[in-house]
């Protein structure tokens, strides 16, 4: 059996959850990610920063009225990374 290497950046619960949310939408704000994952603000911020640094997501900070908003979008690189990650997973569980 030939096992493919798993992307270490995605092989973490919260980062994988964030990328999975973003693959289903065009964009999502920080609070939506928080509600869906149930993680803390600090933890999400750290993981978003790591995904952004890797070029997997784009992050835009803006204001809606007086409220600050952090909008996240998956990049083509992030989409490819998730596809490759799922392919790699399949080789481990023999799908």
């Amino acid at each position: 059996m030939n096992f493919k290497e798993l992307d270490p950046l995605l092989h973490s619960e919260l980062r994988l959850a964030i990328v999975s949310i973003l693959i289903s939408v065009e964009s999502a704000d920080f609070n939506f990610i928080k509600e869906t994952t149930g993680a803390t603000n600090g933890n999400i911020s750290v993981q978003i920063e790591k995904l952004k640094t890797a070029g997997y997501i784009d992050v835009e900070k803006r204001f809606k009225g007086k409220m600050p908003q952090t909008i996240c979008k998956i990049t083509p690189k992030g989409v490819t990374a998730l596809e490759q990650y799922v392919e790699a997973l399949k080789s481990y569980i023999d799908l």
Partner: protein
Amino acid sequence: MEERNLNSKESLELIAQMIQSTRSKLEKGGSIYFLVWGYISFITTIAVYAALTISGNPHYNWLWFTIPLIGAPIMAVIQRRAPKKATTYIDRIIGYLWLVIGIVVMFVPIVSIFLDFRFPILAVIGILLSIGVTLTGLIIEFKTFWIAGLICIALSFCTLFVKGMDQIIIYGIIILVSMIIPGHILKQKENKR
């Protein structure tokens, strides 16, 4: 949820769970738009019908313009109170669809003021709205909407064959069938999720 490594099965389950959870969260909230516009249009239709029947004064047709004048600020308040936290490509497509339909629907009566022949305003607006409802139903895969939309396209064509006040009655039925009834069914479905 925290930063921990998962095994292969857990990873696949997490991806599926997040996609499912995101979808079910985003499928809520669409009914409010149909209900607000539907009820404002329906009440205005009854008001115009009553005013024209009682007074016979055609100037009461200006009452139609209360639909955007009341609807637009209500929509702005709804969107400000509950801003969308995530948007999908489907949201964008439906948003643009209704933006274009809304603008054209606004221009139809305005342009008709300058025409020197009787333009079938209610039939044209009915067709435009029904096309919007049908396409929305097809895009979000909600059968009630596209069936209601198709029925109302047919009803809109019927409007061309009747005259005067009967046109307003059919238009009222179009609003009821294409927006209010499907809006309530969608709301019920949203509440069950």
